[in-house]
Symmetry: C2
Subunit: 330 residues, 2 copies
């Protein structure tokens, strides 16, 4: 049924690329194939790490250095991106692989640029499904990168196991610039550029964030000392090993205490409900429904019908025409 499944499970990169292209497609027949493929995927072993950081913090350099360290240990690393603004900014995030030139040439690494898509919902679905494809393809670590805008961090946190926030060394006053909501979902805060002239500032920033994190309520299911702030340098490589150790420690701790599985289960249930809502709303995208909406909308605009009554009658029509459940069948 799906010629991609076997090579994908064997870890074939070309098959993985094609599978991601398939889940990115909005064509009805592609969607059917994508769903069939996703349903056939066994669970893999990958640790899913979300990574966010404001522009200028050195995120690409960090991913390159961190990724190389992991592949140096023989681990297979996939890098995905969530960038809801990619169409507007011209695909700045992972728009090409030149941002991570060394890592992209590494046979143990797989880098996939963010597709140009404006809707956050579409980006979320694509990333969530790409994660499962990479997982099934045998990757050990999946890094999901996001820019620090709007709700993208929350979305990425909802599809990963560990959330890492990458920040630059800064004065204590700038601490307030980091939104409280982001602080609350971070498992690990890494202060980058802890090298050369900035080393002292970076260490002080780590202490500042460590203090701020202590003020936040400790999360149920986390070991003592987490969430944690640590210094790293993507340039010298200092602190990368320690960051990875902490990530693994936290993941192992959660696995042993059952929180890891609970978290994944909650994510799957959340995703099922999101797909259900999206599917219901997709019934409005069918051409004959669109045409009717246009016509009835015109009547409402002309004051010939009240919006509420028109919507109610429209829903009755949808039910009668069996059109109220998901996209058109291919």
């Amino acid at each position: 049924m799906n010629d991609l499944l076997e090579p994908l499970l064997a870890g074939n990169r070309r098959a993985l690329s094609r599978a991601i292209t398939l889940v990115e497609s909005s064509r009805a027949d592609h969607r059917q194939r994508a769903i069939a493929l996703l349903s056939a995927l066994p669970a893999g072993k990958a640790l899913r790490i979300g990574l966010s950081g404001t522009p200028g913090v050195g995120k690409s350099t960090f991913i390159e250095a961190f990724g190389k360290m992991l592949t140096g240990q023989g681990l297979r690393v996939a890098v995905l991106a969530v960038d809801p603004s990619s169409t507007r900014s011209g695909g700045s995030i992972l728009g090409d692989k030149t941002r991570m030139e060394t890592l992209s040439r590494d046979p143990l690494a797989f880098i996939r640029p963010s597709p140009s898509q404006t809707q956050l919902g579409g980006v979320a679905r694509r990333t969530r499904e790409s994660i499962r494809l990479c997982d099934a393809a045998g990757f050990d670590v999946i890094l999901v990168e996001t820019v620090g805008v709007g709700q993208s961090e929350t979305l990425v946190a909802e599809m990963t196991d560990i959330f890492v926030l990458l920040l630059a060394p800064a004065g204590g006053d700038e601490l307030q610039g980091v939104k409280r909501g982001i602080m609350e979902i971070a498992d690990l805060i890494l202060i980058n550029k802890a090298d050369g002239e900035l080393l002292t500032t970076a260490r002080r920033t780590v202490a500042d964030y460590a203090g701020a994190l202590r003020l936040l309520r400790k999360r149920a299911g986390d070991p003592e000392g987490f969430p944690k702030a640590l210094p790293v340098s993507a340039v010298t490589g200092d602190g990368l090993e320690k960051a990875w150790e902490n990530i693994r420690y936290l993941a192992d701790w959660r696995r042993e205490n059952g929180h890891f599985a609970t978290h994944r289960a909650r994510q799957a249930r959340h995703w099922f409900e999101a797909e259900l809502r999206a599917g219901l709303l997709a019934s409005l995208d069918r051409p004959e429904v669109r045409r009717r909406m246009e016509r009835v909308g015109g009547q409402v605009a002309a004051g010939q019908a009240a919006p509420e009554q028109a919507a109610l009658s429209f829903l009755d029509w949808l039910r009668e025409h069996g059109a109220a459940s998901g996209p058109e069948k291919a």
Copy 2:
């Protein structure tokens, strides 16, 4: 069919109150009655004015003074509130009528507190429908107040004809605190507290905002000089007449140029589509659907089914059971 219609159209305040309570109800039989009532309403003559302002700007005092000025001219004034946070803050906004004691005793005025509801969507529907009830009840001016949080301004702008932003006198630096998006939807920026010691600061703030507004693109369908910044004092009453003159001038201008009707038509169409989407999603609230979602969600969480495939099968089931169009019939 609806015993509220006749007294409502006659301007009976008790009937108006009961009608608003009806549209606020989520009970299926109430909703049916509400929709029947809304469909029977003729269009009124009310000018709908959205009003936003940060806490501490003197919004209640302004509404009281502005409202009294309008009723002093023999105009009937209704005040509604959009406060998505009212449950959390304990109903701070219009939580009781003591905030506007004089206006609330005025026979020409009608003040309706914000219902305690967390969902912005629910608050929006209730306010949108209450506006039409007040309109049909013969009010001349409907003031829709909102707190300056999140998306509530945009929502209020989508249901009113003119949007007024009330700000306090401030240094030029603080100008940046006003979100650009809010500046862009404002037709009139009023700098309150232009009296006593703050008069000079208020005048400078007006000049600052006037400058900032000139930098924004002039909106199609607006006369020269709009959007505009003006000083007012809710305490001395200075500038209130002039603010009202400007609001009327802008409304008349838009009426004469057809933009007023176009705007209302677009709002009605927008509302029809929003109701349609809400109605589709409401099919998931039916008890038997909830139970099935719970069960299938559990299977997905346990890894027995992929989220996408489970959602697709669920949509098929919904279609077969004719449950995919709106809330349960009463």
